[in-house]
């Protein structure tokens, strides 16, 4: 299968590979997929508890080139967004940007799941802290 130029670029130069310590204030972690399915994504956001903006994002992915590219792209898009804006990222946006073929659409779905999981983990752990910041 031939990969699109963008997938190849993200594969060769993945953005934001790495990890945050899970209990750092403002960090939300999503771990989705399953090893036996051949795809696991870990996606983390770091929200500035003062501004409510996602100031950094990191990922690690076990999966094909399209899975790596989808999660790499997701981290790029997350930076600078509010949590609510981040929740609006759709898998179809990723499909269009990376020109994923039908057989690889599940990679984009997984990336959307990873974003949602990271956001919900963040909300569970830190949303009250952020709300406190907002009310100041």
């Amino acid at each position: 299968m031939a990969y699109s130029e963008k997938v190849v670029d993200h594969y060769n130069n993945p953005r934001n590979v790495g990890s945050f310590t899970k209990d750092t204030p403002g960090v939300g972690t999503g771990l989705v997929g399953a090893p036996e399915c051949g795809d696991v994504m870990k996606l983390q956001i770091k929200v500035n508890l003062e501004t409510g903006l996602i100031e950094d994002a990191k990922f690690k992915t076990f999966g094909c080139g399209s899975a790596i590219a989808s999660s790499s792209l997701a981290t790029e898009w997350l930076k600078g967004k509010t949590v609510d804006e981040a929740a609006k990222i759709k898998n179809t946006d990723i499909v269009n940007e990376l020109k994923l073929p039908p057989v690889k659409i599940h990679c984009s779905v997984l990336a959307e799941d990873a974003i949602k999981a990271a956001l919900s983990d963040y909300k569970e752990k830190w949303a009250s802290a952020n709300a406190a910041a907002d009310s100041k």
Partner: protein, 408 residues
């Protein structure tokens, strides 16, 4: 010598045609273009003589008593179809049960699935963790309705070589026909239809440095005489088993390729096994949690199949495929997302089945190529592990199996 890119190490998917084979073929496109079934003029006689010579060359390579026992087909897939369907239809009165293995090539498995839909019963014998089929397990699967045992000679993904002679003895003892898919073994390791008790043998030209589009099925004529229902109706060529005008240039090429493989086998086998071992040692000595798939000794000299834990196979190939042609699973299945059913059949975890890479060498590979591919493989595995959440978890001491994964 300077390396030339891309390096081809996917020789179990296909091989380049040997220039000596091309030379043998060329006259049969132009001046020697006759139809081998034209019995009444020199053009036909010349073509028939060329086809018979090729039959002889292939017969010699597989130890067949009589070149007439070879039926030319379009390739391995057709040979396997003709063997299994041909026996099933011809011997249906006698029985409707077939015994095969879970690691056969797709053609073998799919033919059996079709026959099941047509009322046949098929037993799929499992393999041991090293890829070997226990002959006693085959014996246990037999019933008084069994008309065919079909076991591949050596596996296309992991290279494990079955104890074909033992299966042959069992088949003989029970009076059941024995078919073996030798597409990956022909010309690489000794194949002996007489000594191994093989009644039907499928093979193909393009894996032995011959042209694509031609294969053969060995059909035993004596003790027992095997009869087959043809797949195609027509002029009754090839002893009525395969109608259709023979592609004479391809057949000539196949014959010459077989002859060259026979001549080169003792030296080539040793040389390729040496290169393969060099590749294996280079990789396994540098990469932790990399596992050899298949039997450590009983395997094809040109095959190496390794699972790299925590790294997905397709992403590994993506990092290598600009400069090196390799395969993840078999070429037939790589358009799907399913992990290798062969690796899965060994009892490996599905995750390791997703992580397998096949290196398959050929006549023209060099030691420099081996060293380069080993070095690049190690680099890419290392890079992908640095971005693998599973590797990170494993390094933190988390048992990956203890996590509740949510499968899609």
């Amino acid at each position: 010598m300077a390396l030339k890119f891309p390096i081809f190490m996917d020789a179990q998917s296909t091989t380049p045609v040997d220039p000596r084979v091309v030379d043998a073929m060329l006259p049969y496109f132009t001046e020697k273009f006759g139809h081998p079934a034209s019995r009444n003029h020199p053009f036909g006689w010349e073509a028939e003589a060329a086809v018979d010579a090729a039959r002889g060359q292939i017969a010699k390579l597989i130890g067949a008593r009589d070149p007439k026992e070879l039926v030319f087909t379009s390739g391995g897939t057709e040979s396997i179809n003709l063997a299994i369907k041909g026996v099933a239809e011809m011997y249906r009165e006698k029985g409707t049960h077939i015994v095969t293995t879970v690691i056969e090539q797709r053609a073998g498995l799919d033919v059996c699935r079709r026959l099941e839909r047509q009322g046949f019963e098929v037993s799929y014998v499992p393999v041991q963790p090293d890829g070997l089929v226990d002959v006693e397990a085959i014996r246990k699967a037999l019933t008084d309705k069994t008309i065919l045992i079909s076991v591949m000679f050596a596996n296309n993904e992991i290279g494990t070589i079955q104890d074909v002679a033992a299966v042959g003895r069992l088949a003989k003892e029970k009076g059941i026909l024995f078919h073996t898919d030798a597409t990956q073994s022909l010309g690489k390791i000794p194949v002996d239809v007489e000594g191994m008790g093989i009644d039907l043998l499928s093979c193909t030209s393009h894996l032995i440095y011959g042209p694509k589009g031609v294969g053969a099925l060995y059909v035993r004529r004596k003790a027992p005489r095997v009869r087959l229902a043809p797949l195609l109706d027509g002029g009754g060529h090839e002893r009525g088993m395969r109608s259709g005008t023979l592609p004479v240039p391809l057949v000539v090429g196949f014959g010459r390729a077989a002859e060259l493989c026979g001549e080169a086998m003792p030296e080539e086998r040793t040389r390729l096994a040496g290169l393969r071992d060099r590749l294996q040692d280079a990789i396994l000595s540098k990469v932790d949690e990399a596992f050899l798939n298949g039997h450590p000794e009983r395997r094809l000299p040109h095959n190496l199949n390794i699972s790299f834990a925590y790294v997905e196979g397709e992403s590994l190939l993506m990092g290598l495929n600009k400069e090196t042609a390799l395969s993840s699973g078999s070429a037939c299945t790589s358009s799907t997302l399913e992990p290798s059913y062969v690796i899965a059949a060994l009892g490996a975890s599905a995750e390791l089945a997703h992580s397998s890479i096949r290196f398959s060498l050929h006549r023209f590979n060099t030691a420099e190529e081996i060293d380069y591919v080993a070095k690049r493989t190690i680099e890419v595995v290392t890079r992908l592990r640095d971005m693998s959440p599973l590797y990170e978890l494993a390094k933190e001491g988390v048992d990956i199996k203890s996590i509740q994964w949510k499968a899609e």
